[in-house]
């Protein structure tokens, strides 16, 4: 690991367990958070495994990125530590419900076939594309998500989802969407946003991490919000508090 702790890891808190939702915008892609979490969940000491649902990019893309971060994804796939499901061409001709049920069955069997069901992470790169594949049927996608979330509580694995924040209608009282449902389900929400002042070479954007913390059994809960800037590099990401960069 490149550094014992960075701001993102501190803010995320210990995994496994929670459902992490990454939200990005057109201006700043949040894919790097996914890469970071992929590396972290595969880390040697955690001994984890990953089921990766790729709807946005190809395997070779991830393979090359991870290689620059010092991780061999191909070897891990051969070791069966990574189950990479290339879903870029996923289509539902007519009865698309079967498609998502089939997909869930694949994930479930993959997880249940593992001897130790600990430290398994399900990653979904861009759930909005799943919504598109289901022709806008947010209910189907939500059903799928509920199944996946149930899996996390049953088998103790974790779930990482990438979604886009700006594709849903916003306003005073936005109608319930996939987005609001996912935000409710998530334990940790990671938002990437561009700087208000526009793009810069030194600061690529800012991260807002909202961690919902349940304090006691009375249901008294509070969320912890941390906020910092980031700069994406080939072999990792620099995180720093606003203004603290040398």
């Amino acid at each position: 690991m490149n550094s014992p702790s960075n701001l993102l890891d501190d803010a995320l808190g210990p995994i496994p367990g929670p459902v992490i939702l990454v939200e990005d915008r057109v201006e700043t892609s949040g894919a790097f958070v996914l890469h970071h979490l992929l590396k972290r969940s595969l880390a040697a000491d955690a001994g984890g495994a990953v089921v990766f649902l790729a709807l946005a990019q190809t395997f070779s893309h991830y393979d090359r990125i991870m290689r620059k971060m010092g991780y061999n994804l191909s070897a891990q796939r051969e070791n069966k530590k990574v189950l990479f499901l290339d879903m870029m061409k996923l289509e539902y001709p007519s009865e698309h419900k079967d498609g998502l049920i089939g997909l869930y069955a694949k994930i479930q069997s993959a997880i249940e076939s593992r001897s130790s069901k600990e430290n398994i992470t399900i990653m979904i790169d861009d759930i909005s594309l799943l919504e598109i594949a289901a022709r806008g049927s947010a209910d189907d996608v939500l059903d799928f998500m509920h199944y996946c979330v149930a899996l996390t509580s049953e088998l103790g694995c974790s779930l990482v989802i990438l979604n886009h924040e700006d594709i849903y209608p916003s306003g005073e009282e936005p109608p319930p969407t996939l987005h609001s449902n996912l935000e409710y389900l998530a334990d940790v929400v990671v938002k990437t946003e561009p700087l208000l002042t526009g793009l810069a070479v030194d600061v690529h954007g800012q991260l807002t991490i909202i961690r919902k913390v349940v304090l006691n059994e009375k249901g008294y809960s509070a969320s912890k919000i941390s906020n910092f800037h980031f700069k994406v590099k080939e072999n990792g990401v620099e995180y720093f508090h606003p203004g603290s960069q040398r």
Partner: protein
């Protein structure tokens, strides 16, 4: 030379050398196919048909990506970009698929610009540059002209990107090529037809076959003429599958679309699907404030915004120094893209400062 020694050795490097063969033989490779330029992270570029845009984007359009251009409702500048993109492909003899909402899409080919002829402008420009750089005695000038007579360069221009003369249409014999396919989006009530056209087109261009590069140009995808009303999900799903198909083949797809006709949330979905996202804008005529602010305002025909630059095999975003550029016509012929230049503040017209700072009479303290 190096390859011969490598093949003689049967070491553990043998596999490596074979996998790197396209890179090691890159000069040869480029000679065979001038339409492709190899980039970082095992990527390859094709030219957008505008040398300036290629430079801005770091080499051109990445092979295997989807480029989307947001149209301006007031000006058809997106057609400038689309025409140059198509012309460049035809000049390189690359297969082209063009889809348009018009009834006769083939008619659009007649408006494609032709590359600037080497005799008239580009070579004279080169000569000028050479003259500037060298400044040799006049009697040696005949030696300079020799490369221009070279049959290779005159017959088929083997350059990565050409300058195009917007006033001169592309030669007819190039347009009759077999590998140019035109589809109208008007007859088909569903997107399945155009999707099949795209997938048929792309299956002929597998990813690993480096010799053949294809271009897909789709004009005004969600225009009302297409009749794709109430088909928002179908359209976005078409773009998604096109993106997936292009990613696994040796091609670039360019789609232009009018954002004003899409619901905002779908417009954002489209933008997320784009690997490279550009938008064009018109500039208002005789906007006095803008004219004062920018140099060369008279020559500008429009604005180009770069929102997103495609990045494959890397997580680092491309951050450009500037995201807004001006579209200009050089000698009313070729398209030039420049950064906006702020005009120097005219000292004599600084009266506004004086009136603004009326509370303090000492106007000399103006910063």
């Amino acid at each position: 030379m190096a390859t011969s020694t490598r093949t003689g050795r049967t070491s553990s490097f043998s596999r490596n050398s074979s996998s790197f063969s396209p890179a090691s033989s890159s000069p040869l490779h480029q000679q065979q196919n001038p339409g492709i330029k190899l980039g970082p992270n095992a990527s390859a570029f094709v030219s957008s048909g505008i040398p300036d845009l290629d430079r801005i984007l770091g080499g051109g359009f990445l092979l295997g990506t989807l480029v989307m251009i947001m149209e301006d409702s007031d000006a058809p500048h997106h057609l400038l970009l689309l025409r140059n993109f198509m012309s460049q492909g035809i000049v390189h003899r690359q297969p082209l698929l063009f889809a348009s909402p018009s009834k006769e899409p083939r008619a659009f080919l007649g408006t494609l610009p032709s590359p600037l002829s080497s005799s008239s402008s580009s070579s004279s420009k080169d000569e000028k540059q050479e003259e500037k750089g060298l400044r040799i005695a006049w009697q040696y000038k005949k030696y300079l002209e020799q490369p221009a007579i070279d049959p290779h360069s005159k017959d088929v221009k083997q350059e990565f990107s050409n300058d195009f003369d917007l006033r001169k249409p592309l030669e007819r014999h190039l347009l009759g090529a077999k590998n140019i396919e035109c589809v109208t989006m008007q007859d088909s009530s569903s997107l399945a037809v155009i999707r099949d056209h795209c997938s048929n087109f792309l299956t002929k261009l597998p990813r690993n076959d480096g010799s053949n590069v294809g271009r897909i140009a789709i004009q005004s995808l969600c225009a009302p003429q297409c009749g794709y009303t109430e088909m928002d999900w179908d359209m976005v799903s078409f773009i998604r599958s096109l993106r997936a198909m292009v990613r696994s083949s040796n091609a670039v797809a360019v789609i232009t679309f009018p954002t004003s006709l899409l619901p905002p949330s779908f417009s954002k979905r489209w933008q997320h699907l784009a690997d490279t996202l550009l938008s064009v804008g018109s500039i208002p005529d005789e906007d006095k404030d803008l004219a004062k602010l920018l140099t060369g305002y008279q020559d500008m025909v429009g604005l180009l915004h770069v929102h997103k630059v495609a990045q494959i095999n890397s997580q680092v975003p491309v951050i450009l120094e500037a995201t807004t550029f001006s579209l200009k016509l050089h000698r009313r012929r070729s398209l030039v893209i420049e950064r906006l230049n702020q005009a120097p503040v005219d000292g004599s017209s600084g009266t506004s400062y004086g009136t603004a700072g009326s509370c303090s009479k000492s106007s000399s303290v103006d910063f």
